[in-house]
C-alpha cells in the first residue's frame, strides 16, 4: 500500500524529482572535485614539480599518544616571542591556524595562541620545497600545528597581529590536530568589533544562538578569552579579599528538602523514593554557620532558579557569591564590609586585569566602569525623591520597577558619576519576612540592595536572629510556621546579630564590563530554553 502510494507520488512529481536529482548529482560532483583539490595537493605534488626535497619537514603528526618526549624542542609562548628575538635563533611554537593565504611561492599564516597572534611566512627556498608551501596553505583553519621557525624582526609593523614587530620564518611545520574544513562559524566573524558608528566595517555577525551552539569555537575569540579570565579574577578577588577580612569559606548543600526562599521557583529532583529541591540560595546554611560561631563566612557555588524568565539578565543556574557576617551593634558594619569588598574588587580588576578589559573593549564598545571610594550609599527615600524630581510618580513603599531602577541608575550616574552604589533602608513591606525592621520607622527595614550600571546585583539585610520575633514576623506575612520550623529552630540556641547578601558572578562580570547579555559571561549558560552544550 505504502509503496504503491509512493510510486504514484513519484510519478506525479517525476519532473520535480528529476530536477532534484540533477541538482544532487551536480552537488556531489562538485564535492568530489573539492575533495580532489584538497587531497590533490599532497597526492599530486610529485607530478607538480618533481622531487620534494623537504619531505621530512612537514606533514601530519602521528596522533600524540605520549610515545616520545621530544624535550629538545624549545617551545616559546607567542606573547613572549619578542623577548626571544635576538637571543634565540630558532624556536618552536604551537598554535592554531587563524588565517592562511597562499600566493605562488609564498604562504602567509597567522598563528593564534589564546589571545596572541603572530605572522608566519613559509616561502620556497633551498630548504623549503614548493610542495611544503602548498601543504601549509591547505591546512584548514583552526587546526593545531607545531611550527619550528626563525624569529625575524620586521621593519614595517604588522597591524593585523598582536606581535607587530616580528614574524616567524618557518623551517618545519606539522599538523597536530586537524580541524574540519567547514566551520560552523568563522572566528574572524565572531571576533569582529561591534562598532555601530563605522559605516566601512563589515557587518557580518554571528548570532547568539549559533555562538552558544558552537561554544567551543566561540570561546576562542580574544574577547571571550578575556571575559572568562576576568571572571576567574572576580572569583579570585572575592575569595582573597574576604579571606583577608577574616572570612571563612564554607560549602553548602545544593540538594535540599525544602525551598529556602519563598517556595516558588525551585527545581524538583527525584531523591530515591521522595523528591528534593535544588538550592535557590545558600542563605539558611550561611546563617546556620553564623549561629555555629564562624563569625564571618562566604561561599562560592551554583544556585538554581526555576524562573521562566527569558531576559538578558536571568539564568536558571548561576554561580552565587554569598557572604554572611555577624556584627556588634549596627548592620552598617556589614554594609561597609560588603561595600569595601566591592571597591577593592573593582580596584583589583582595574589594576590587574587591564589587558583583559581592553581586549573586551576592542570587540564590544563599552564605557570603563566608574566607582567611588568609599562607595556611595543612599537611602531608599532619597532615591524615591530623585525619581520624583525626574517626574516619576511612585508610592513611598513601592518597590523599584525595572525601568525606574534603570532611570535611577542614570540619575545617580549623572549626579555622582558612579556605576556602583548602595541603596539602604528599603520599605519593610517589599522585603522577606526574616528582614529586621528599622528601629526608628516601622515602615522601613534594615535592608539594602547594591547596583551596578543601574541593575541590581545584590540584595541583603539584617536578618532577624530572635526566634520569637521571627515567628511573629512570619505570622504577619501569613507564612506556615511548620514549613519553616527548621529555620526558626536554628536560632533557639543563641545567635549573634548578623547580616549578609549574595551576588551573581555572571551578572557582576556582565555589568562590570558593560555587556548586554548575561549569556556572554556564562561559559555554558542555562536558561529556560537551553540545556546544551
Amino acid at each position: 500500500m505504502v509503496t504503491e502510494e509512493t510510486a504514484a507520488n513519484s510519478e506525479a512529481q517525476s519532473k520535480k524529482a528529476a530536477k532534484k536529482q540533477a541538482a544532487k548529482a551536480e552537488k556531489a560532483a562538485k564535492k568530489a572535485e573539492h575533495k580532489a583539490t584538497e587531497h590533490g595537493t599532497t597526492e599530486n605534488q610529485d607530478e607538480a614539480s618533481g622531487e620534494d626535497y623537504s619531505k621530512d619537514k612537514y606533514g601530519h603528526c602521528k596522533m600524540i599518544q605520549s610515545a616520545e618526549k621530544l624535550s629538545e624542542r624549545n617551545f616559546v609562548p607567542v606573547h613572549q616571542l619578542g623577548e626571544s628575538l635576538g637571543t634565540q635563533s630558532s624556536v618552536w611554537v604551537r598554535g592554531r591556524i587563524h588565517t592562511s593565504r597562499c600566493k605562488g611561492k609564498q604562504c602567509f599564516i597567522v598563528l593564534r595562541q589564546q589571545s596572541s597572534t603572530v605572522q608566519v611566512l613559509i616561502s620556497v627556498n633551498e630548504n623549503i620545497s614548493k610542495q611544503m608551501v602548498k601543504f601549509s596553505g591547505s591546512i584548514p583553519r583552526e587546526s593545531i600545528v607545531d611550527i619550528h621557525a626563525n624569529i625575524i624582526k620586521v621593519d614595517q609593523k604588522i597591524e593585523s597581529c598582536t606581535e607587530k614587530d616580528l614574524e616567524l620564518h618557518a623551517i618545519e611545520i606539522y599538523v597536530v590536530s586537524q580541524a574540519k574544513a567547514q566551520l560552523p562559524l568563522q572566528i574572524e566573524d565572531a571576533a569582529r568589533p561591534e562598532k555601530k558608528d563605522d559605516p566601512d566595517s563589515l557587518n557580518i555577525r554571528v548570532n547568539q544562538d549559533t555562538r552558544l551552539d558552537n561554544r567551543v569555537l566561540d570561546l576562542r575569540t580574544p574577547a571571550n578569552q578575556a571575559i572568562f579570565r576576568l571572571e576567574a579574577g572576580v572569583c579570585k578577588l572575592f575569595r582573597d579579599i574576604l579571606a583577608n577580612k577574616g572570612f571563612v569559606e564554607i560549602h553548602t548543600p545544593k540538594i535540599i528538602s525544602a525551598a529556602s526562599e519563598g517556595g516558588a521557583n525551585v527545581f524538583t529532583v527525584s531523591y530515591f523514593k521522595e523528591s528534593a529541591y535544588l538550592a535557590q540560595s545558600p542563605q539558611l546554611y550561611k546563617q546556620m554557620a553564623i549561629a555555629a560561631d564562624f563569625d564571618r563566612v562566604f561561599t562560592v557555588g551554583a544556585v538554581f532558579r526555576a524562573e521562566d524568565s527569558n531576559t538578558h539578565r536571568h539564568l536558571t543556574e548561576f554561580v552565587g557569591l554569598d557572604l554572611e557576617m555577624a556584627f556588634k551593634y549596627h548592620y552598617h558594619e556589614v554594609l561597609e564590609t560588603i561595600g569595601n569588598t566591592f571597591t577593592e574588587m573593582f580596584k583589583g580588576l582595574r589594576d590587574n586585569y587591564a589587558n583583559e578589559i581592553t581586549a573586551v573593549g576592542q570587540q564590544y564598545n563599552v564605557e570603563p566602569f566608574k566607582f567611588l571610594e568609599p562607595p556611595l550609599r543612599l537611602e531608599f527615600h532619597q532615591a524615591v525623591q530623585m525619581l520624583r524630581e525626574a517626574g516619576i510618580e511612585m508610592d513611598d513603599e513601592e518597590d523599584l520597577s525595572t525601568p525606574n531602577e534603570k532611570l535611577l541608575g542614570r540619575l545617580i550616574k549623572a549626579k555622582y558619576d558612579t556605576d556602583f552604589y548602595m541603596l539602604d533602608k528599603f520599605p519593610l513591606a517589599i522585603r522577606p519576612f526574616y528582614t529586621m525592621p528599622d528601629p526608628n520607622n516601622p515602615k522601613y527595614s534594615n535592608s539594602y540592595d547594591m547596583f551596578m550600571r543601574g541593575e541590581e546585583i545584590l540584595s541583603g539585610a539584617q536578618r532577624i536572629h530572635d526566634p520569637e520575633y521571627l515567628v511573629e514576623r512570619a505570622k504577619h506575612h501569613a507564612i506556615d510556621i511548620s514549613k519553616i520550623a527548621a529555620y526558626i529552630e536554628a536560632f533557639r540556641f543563641g545567635c549573634p546579630p548578623h547580616a549578609g547578601g549574595g551576588i551573581g558572578m555572571e551578572r557582576v562580570v556582565m555589568l562590570y564590563l558593560g555587556l548586554d547579555n548575561i549569556r556572554k559571561t556564562s561559559m555554558f549558560p542555562r536558561d529556560p530554553k537551553r540545556l546544551t552544550p
Partner: protein
C-alpha cells in the same frame, strides 16, 4: 567749511508746558565767537586770562551745586567718614535682615567634583562661617579616575578638617555637600541632574553657597557691596585660569592693592565672601609657602585662617 542756508526759516513752535526749560547749551560758544570778533584789539594774555576766569567761575558754580546736593541727601561732607557711615548703614541693614530663617527648600544636596590639586578651601571656610546657622554635612569620596598618587598631605589634611564633627548648640538646618575627588580640569558642582546643568568654577560654588546660606552673610544686599565683591570674585576667577606665575602676578598685585592694610576685604569687620574666595585660591596657589606672596596678603591670610578654619 561750506556755509549752509538755514534749513528752517522762522517758525513758531508751540512748546509744551509739561517739560523743563533748558538754557541754550551753546550760549558760551556764541558769546566767545562774538567776543573774538570784538576783542581783536586785546592782547593774547588778556584773552587767556578771560578764559581762565570763566572756567574758575564755572568750577565754583559746580562746587556749590554739589554741596547743595550733598546737603539735600544728608551726606556728611567729610570724605574720610563716609565709609564709616556707609558701614553703619550696612550694619543697620544687616541687623534688619539678620536671623532670617534659612529657606530649607534651597538646601538640595550638591555634589562637587574636584581634582585633588584644586582643594576647595572655600567650602571649609563656609562650613566654619555658617556653623551657628547652617550645617554643611560634608562627605568625601574618591572617584575611580583618581589614583593614590594624586593625593598628598594637604588633601588628607583638608579631608580630615572638612569631615570633622563640629560642636553644634542646636539642631540646625543641614545642607549635604558631597565632595568627589575626580579627574576634572575645572571644579564643578551638580545639584539635581534632572533640573539643572552642572555649574563650573569654584567661584560660582562660592556664590551659590553664599546665596543659600544664612541671610546675614548675603553679599548682594546693595549695589555697592555686590559690585565690590563681584569684582574681587572675578579677579579670583581669572587668577584660577592662569597657569604661570608671570600671568598671575598682575591679578595678585590687584588683590593685594584691594586689601591694602585692612583686616578684611571691603574694610569689613568680619569674614566676607571676598575673603573666602581670595584665601581659597591663594592657599591653593602657594600651598604653605606664604612668603612668596605680597606681605599684606600673607599677613591677612594668617590672621583670617582661624576664622575660616584652615
Amino acid at each position: 567749511m561750506y556755509s549752509l542756508k538755514p534749513i528752517l526759516t522762522q517758525q513758531n513752535i508751540d512748546l509744551p508746558s509739561c517739560m523743563y526749560k533748558m538754557k541754550p547749551v551753546n550760549s558760551n560758544i556764541i558769546e566767545n565767537s562774538c567776543n573774538s570778533k570784538n576783542n581783536s584789539e586785546k592782547s593774547e594774555v588778556e584773552l587767556l586770562e578771560d578764559r581762565q576766569n570763566r572756567i574758575l567761575q564755572k568750577l565754583d558754580e559746580l562746587k556749590q551745586t554739589l554741596l547743595s546736593m550733598r546737603g539735600d541727601l544728608n551726606v556728611c561732607s567729610k570724605p574720610a567718614q563716609q565709609n564709616i557711615q556707609n558701614q553703619q548703614q550696612q550694619k543697620a541693614a544687616k541687623v534688619k535682615i539678620q536671623r532670617k530663617p534659612i529657606d530649607v527648600n534651597n538646601l538640595a544636596e550638591i555634589v562637587v567634583n574636584v581634582h585633588p590639586k584644586n582643594i576647595p578651601y572655600s567650602i571649609l571656610a563656609f562650613r566654619n562661617l555658617f556653623k551657628d546657622r547652617l550645617f554643611l554635612d560634608v562627605e568625601v569620596f574618591t572617584h575611580s579616575s583618581i589614583s593614590n598618587a594624586d593625593f598628598n598631605d594637604l588633601t588628607r589634611d583638608f579631608t580630615d578638617k572638612i569631615t570633622k564633627k563640629l560642636d553644634y548648640v542646636e539642631k540646625l538646618p543641614a545642607l549635604k555637600v558631597t565632595i568627589i575627588w575626580k579627574d576634572v580640569e575645572t571644579t564643578q558642582f551638580i545639584s539635581s541632574p534632572s533640573k539643572f546643568i552642572p555649574v563650573y568654577g569654584e567661584i560660582n560654588i562660592i556664590r551659590y553657597l553664599n546665596r543659600v546660606g544664612p541671610s546675614e552673610h548675603y553679599y548682594e544686599t546693595d549695589h555697592f557691596q555686590a559690585n565690590y565683591h563681584d569684582q574681587v570674585l572675578d579677579v579670583c576667577y581669572q587668577l584660577s585660569k592662569k597657569h604661570s606665575d608671570k600671568e598671575r602676578q598682575q591679578y595678585i598685585q590687584h588683590l593685594s592693592q584691594r586689601l591694602g592694610k585692612d583686616q578684611f576685604y571691603n574694610s569689613a569687620s568680619s569674614l566676607s565672601i571676598s575673603d573666602i574666595a581670595v584665601s581659597s585660591i591663594l592657599k591653593k596657589l602657594y600651598a604653605n609657602d606664604f612668603k612668596r606672596m605680597p606681605a599684606n596678603l600673607s599677613n591677612w591670610l594668617n590672621k583670617i585662617s582661624p576664622f575660616a578654619g584652615y
